[in-house]
């Protein structure tokens, strides 16, 4: 399980990228999917996920669609063009950041 600080700084990028890859998703599904992709090391807590989704919806980075599934309403989220371009620039920034961190922290990618 990664530290709160690392997750805090990357959560928005992760959620947007996930929606970009997988089309539309609902909250619980995102939670599970990120858990699977990270072997449980990257935990999307509901306390962070739902506030983030509300914020992204307000900023029009995602749109929500309501549907009735298994007898209850379910909110599916889909990425917008605005969200996609934000995700792209954040990914690029992150990649750049990784290269810089490798240099500063003297990480040797061959050894890991």
């Amino acid at each position: 399980m990664y530290s709160k600080e690392l997750i805090k700084g990357t959560l928005q990028t992760v959620v947007l990228k996930l929606l970009d890859n997988e089309g539309r998703m609902y909250g619980y599904q995102m939670n599970k999917r990120v858990g699977e992709l990270s072997n449980g090391k990257y935990q999307l807590t509901e306390g962070a996920l739902y506030p983030l989704l509300a914020k992204l919806e307000k900023e029009e980075m995602v749109v929500a669609e309501r549907e009735t599934v298994n007898g209850r309403p379910r909110k599916y989220y889909r990425i917008t063009e605005k969200g996609r371009s934000a995700a792209t620039s954040r990914r690029e920034e992150f990649q750049n950041f990784l290269i810089t961190m490798q240099r500063i922290l003297d990480l040797n990618p061959d050894r890991t």
Partner: protein, 265 residues
């Protein structure tokens, strides 16, 4: 995969209704909790009753309320703070740059600009955090840094008794009536007059933290009330044993006073 029936979904809905959540959160969580129950019934082969009891125990009313406040804070209060701080910056910049601005003290305006920059940092710091679960690290006065105090934590000569005493908190000099803000989300456990401390507010937070705000002019909150990070709880005054308007701020961990600055990053 097990699917819940209507009456089972209703039971979950009733549990959520009891927490009186904002409608769209309540809707999202209904599906989330139902998914958790279905998952538990499918993968661990437990009955609905067992799964329901485990999930609703995990998602207690308290935890649900906290999440509700978090969403409220990130989607409403925070954008308002940002708008306010940008507005301050624009007004300050106008006065600073305008040849018409009869600015008696340019330093004061410069300070305003810095203050709003601080507010932005503060905002960034909070992004994607769960503010309801953060320990008290914020400043109790808007636009002021936590380390901008006049009297620190530790042994000092008491200004009234003139004796060496442990100063259990930190003192901020501030004008009468300056808003005093909760430094973390929590519940009010005391609000009123308390002898030498004057008008005092005490907030109980997560993980055994308590914060104390003394010598207030007024308190705006009552015992039992829940407050969010940054919520105004009172105003600076000079009630109780005090030599002038100031805020005496204490942070306790498990009932022991600790230096509020020790919590800063």
């Amino acid at each position: 995969m097990t699917e819940l029936n209507e009456s089972q979904i209703n039971l979950v809905a009733v549990h959520l209704d009891e927490a009186a959540l904002e409608a769209s959160l309540s809707e999202s969580l209904l599906d989330h909790l139902c998914c958790e129950i279905e998952e538990a019934m499918t993968s661990s082969d437990v009955t609905f009753e067992e799964a329901f009891s485990a999930v609703t125990h995990d998602w207690s009313k308290e935890r649900l309320r906290k999440l509700d406040r978090t969403i409220n804070f990130t989607t409403k209060t925070k954008p308002m703070l940002i708008r306010l701080s940008s507005l301050t910056a624009i007004v300050a910049a106008f006065f600073l740059l305008s040849p018409f601005g009869n600015s008696p003290s340019p330093n004061k305006h410069t300070q305003v600009v810095f203050e709003s920059a601080d507010a932005k940092d503060f905002e960034l710091e909070l992004t994607l955090l769960d503010p309801a679960l953060e320990p008290p690290t914020a400043s109790p006065l808007a636009g002021r840094k936590l380390d901008d105090f006049i009297s620190g934590f530790g042994m000092r000569t008491h200004p009234i008794h003139k004796k060496q005493l442990l100063h259990r908190g930190i003192d901020f000099k501030a004008e009468m009536g300056t808003p005093v803000l909760a430094t973390a989300a929590g519940e009010i456990t005391f609000a009123g007059r308390n002898g030498k401390n004057g008008i005092q507010v005490v907030i109980k937070h997560e993980d055994g933290y308590t914060t104390v705000y003394s010598h207030l002019q007024t308190h705006l909150v009552e015992v039992g009330q829940s407050v969010d990070l940054g919520e105004m709880i009172g105003a600076v005054g000079t009630t109780g044993a005090s030599t002038g308007p100031h805020l005496h701020y204490e942070l306790h961990k498990d009932n022991q006073p600790i230096n509020p600055l020790a919590m800063m990053d």
